[in-house]
């Protein structure tokens, strides 16, 4: 594990300390994160594994600026996400974050192409929506509405939407959960390419343990905490993954 006191020079994208997230209060309180410590080096492709309810989505949401921690710190380079104002968080999401949600979360009244446009509209250096859709193999469906697409196709649109802005960090919450092995590999290939070619830091939450083989770093979560971090000596390419 790399450690350094100065994250700016170390190339650490995220430096997380004692991150806690409690939903609700009193006897009904749910401790989704109970003190997470974690470092993600810049350019890493990280896979998060863990049982359902272990806090993976919660962690991703906080690192993606979608939610706020109850306690602890989470540095994105030299900026502490937990100390940011709403406006700063908005700018952070706008300029740095690509998100693929566990549920596809497409705008029902916009076509595939327009769903991608929705994000490229407000980014500084986006790739054209056509190109992003082409990357996920959906250029022929670009004028279809979400209701006219299968779950896997919707998920691929969501991925195109996330990578089209060329984000600094890409969060994928179970991106392949609904996909068959061929499309699943295809999607992972895209993500791997983004990571390799653009240097994007990627965090993937998945239940498919085999996916871990393509990561630089595998994080096991249990009960709201990090139980184990494994650095892979050798990595498989997306096509080689057992499904």
């Amino acid at each position: 594990m790399k450690t350094s006191d100065d994250p700016k020079t170390s190339g650490t994208t995220f430096d997380v300390k004692q991150l806690t997230r409690v939903y609700g209060e009193g006897p009904a309180a749910v401790h989704a994160l109970r003190g997470v410590d974690l470092q993600i080096p810049k350019g890493d492709l990280v896979v998060l594994l863990g049982a359902s309810g272990s806090g993976k989505s919660t962690l991703l949401n906080i690192l993606g600026g979608l939610d706020r921690a109850t306690d602890g710190q989470a540095h994105f380079f030299d900026k502490d996400l937990t100390a940011m104002s709403d406006a700063q968080l908005t700018r952070y999401r706008r300029h740095h974050v690509g998100f693929v949600f566990q549920f596809y979360n497409l705008m029902p009244s916009l076509t595939a192409h327009e769903n991608v446009d929705l994000v490229t509209e407000i980014s500084d250096n986006p790739m054209p929506a056509d190109e992003a859709l082409d990357l996920v193999g959906l250029s022929h469906r670009q004028d279809h509405f979400p209701a006219e697409m299968s779950g896997g196709e919707q998920q691929r649109v969501a991925i195109a939407r996330a990578i089209a802005k060329r984000p600094t960090v890409l969060f994928c919450d179970e991106p392949t959960g609904a996909l068959d092995s061929t499309t699943g590999r295809q999607v992972l290939r895209v993500i791997q390419d983004v990571n390799a070619n653009l240097g994007t830091t990627v965090m993937i939450v998945t239940h498919a343990a085999a996916t871990a083989a393509m990561a630089h770093r595998v994080i096991h979560m249990a009960d709201g905490a990090v139980r184990e971090v494994i650095e892979n000596e050798t990595r498989l390419s997306a096509e080689e993954i057992e499904w």
């Binding site: 939610d67 952070y92 998100f99 596809y104 979360n105 009244s109 446009d117 407000i122 209701a147």
Partner: protein
Amino acid sequence: MVSPLDRKLLRDLWRMKLQSFAIALVIAVGVLLLVMMDGLVNSLAQTRDAYYDRYRLAEVFAPVKRAPDHLLDRIAAIPGVSAVEGRVVGGALVDVEGQTVQVRARAVSLPEFREPRLNAVYLAEGRRLDPRRLDEILLLQGFADAHGLEPGDSLTATMNGARHTFRIAGLAQAPEFLYSTAPGELAPDDSRFAVLWMNEEALAAAFDLDGAFNEALVSLDRGASEPAVIDALDRLLDPYGVTGAYGLEDQISNRFIHEEISGLRASSRSVPPVFMGVAAFLLYIVISRMIESERTQIGLLKAFGYTSAEIGAHYLKFILVISVGGVLLGCGLGVMSGHALSGLYQQYYKFPFLIFRVDPSAFITAIVVSVASASAGGFIVLRRIFALAPAAAMRPPAPADFSSSARLVAALRRFLDQPSRMIVRRIARQPMRSFAASIGIAVGMGLSVAMLGVLGGFDKAVELNFNVIDRSDANVSFVEPLGEKTIYELKRLDGIIEVEPFRSVPVVLRNGVKSHRGALDGLTEDAELNRAMRDETHQVYARKDGIVLSKPLAAKLDIGPGELVTVDVREGRRPVLTLPVVAVSQSLLGAPAYFELSALNESLEEPGRVSGAWLRIDPAKQQDVYEALKNMPAVAGVSLKDEARDALQRMMDEGAGATRYYMAIIAAIITFGIVYNSARIAFAERAHDLASLRVLGFTKSEASYVLLGELGLITLAALPMGAFIGTGLAGAIAAGFSTDLYTIPAQVGFSNVGSGALAVLIAALIAGWLVKRDVDRLELVSALKSRE
């Protein structure tokens, strides 16, 4: 290129087109009312002013018994007087075929060889008077039309006791006779009031006024003081038998039209805001619920890094399209219906032309109110959503908190089946939202209930006046106050069952700076046929020791029982009395004041004089009685209650009150709009749940039952609130409709509430049926999918 958010906007609008239209319509009718009323008031006032100006209506009228023409030069010399005209006017009785009694008329002179300097005449048909002919007249057009008289016809009239037969040269109108009421009556009736314009020489001869005039007309210099001129006129004309010069504001026709316009203005200021307020409230509720249902999408936009300002702007556009669309539609419809209605008013008031104009401030008010209330609804919800972290906003709203409703549901378990429990649980889970939905429907119902109450109030005004206050069949007035002997003569007539004398004198009532020019009616102590009433069942008896004021008059003078009022009598020896107010009576028509008959006569030092009498007539001998009255020289005119009642009804239906029907329709549209929107939104909010239910194996009717049952409960809860709100609104609307001419009582009865509730229920049924069709058609897969 259209931005993706704008595309979303357009598609969402299209998807919700029916609902958007329903909202826009509610705004539109509120605006319609505002613009229409404003346009009406403006155009009537401006048309009147232009008409007065073009036909040189005098500003001061000075009636005298007889004054020599050379006095006119001295009047012209009074400081502040800009023009003077002297003329002869007199009373006449016109014989008309088909009319049971003779019609009262006014004969007015016109100079032979020039245009009148003041009070010119608009010739509508035929030709001007031939200056050489003494038997030609111009006849008031309204009267001629009512009796089918045309130029070339002849007309017989009694003037100064002699019968004359005239040829009608032309039909005319004049600003001083815009509003022609039979004397002693309040409501105008074309068929029962005539004006004959004649050559001065002919009329002067008929009234023995050669070389003299009996009315001076005066117009004023700009900025001149009217009271000063009136004072000077009264002093100058004192030796010639003045009854007091008066300004235009006391001229009968002008006063009526002024009352009508200010009545209309009052309702235009108070009624549309009530409607707009209701529409605005609805808008607020609907928009806030619509945006609430977009919550996950808002969270998503935030997750992408859209700023609150950008998202706010997106929804503002959405709100603007609907509300500005509604405002524009309303302005268009308002101008159109204002134009149409003012056309009717033009006929009713007999303006020879019409100026239609809406004050731009009405448009601005409409836009500001609608847009502001719609935006408020949007922004309050947006702020709440923005306050959430995007991760929370993206989750479906309000994570089910069953704990509060769990006990209730558990208690109900034994009585309710599963779908019914779902209804109860939903309402219990979001009591505020259910309450807001109920309030929305209640306000809509309140508006309808209030309008029904006001419609009933108009009938009630007529009913109270003609069945409770006035129980006579007819009223006779004498040419001048006569001795009681005439009463005995009337009593002896075969067919007259009862005779009740009265004396009526022109007075100015004063309390400090507040004053009222009107009549003081002397009634007998035991008056039966025409009475003052405290309420529907209790009479107020006229008293010798003080006067009874009607409620509107007491309000106008700001005076109550026990206080002293100054009575400036404008007849006979013209005494100025100070009398206590002894009681206040109910009056829905006019603003009368009552005094005991003999006490009134005593104060005038004219014992035993009466101005006329109220009669009860045996229906079988009606014709004989009228025939006999026609031949009594003392009788100046007879007015039949039925005719007076019809005239009043017509005044309410065609005058300022005519807008009430528009308002009732608009209230109904708003009520339906509210109910329909509530159903639509409930459906949108529940579509996903309903689809889930269906997937779980619930039947279509069970699914609809869950939705409509909730809607039904919310609607039922709205009914009592609606009744309550309606009662409050009725007061405000009725006050807006009441003028100095008549008071509209605001009484919301059981039947009004019943009808209002029924309307809401019918609206709920129709809305429910429309929504049920959608539930039945619900495509399970896409409904489930559409939630991301």
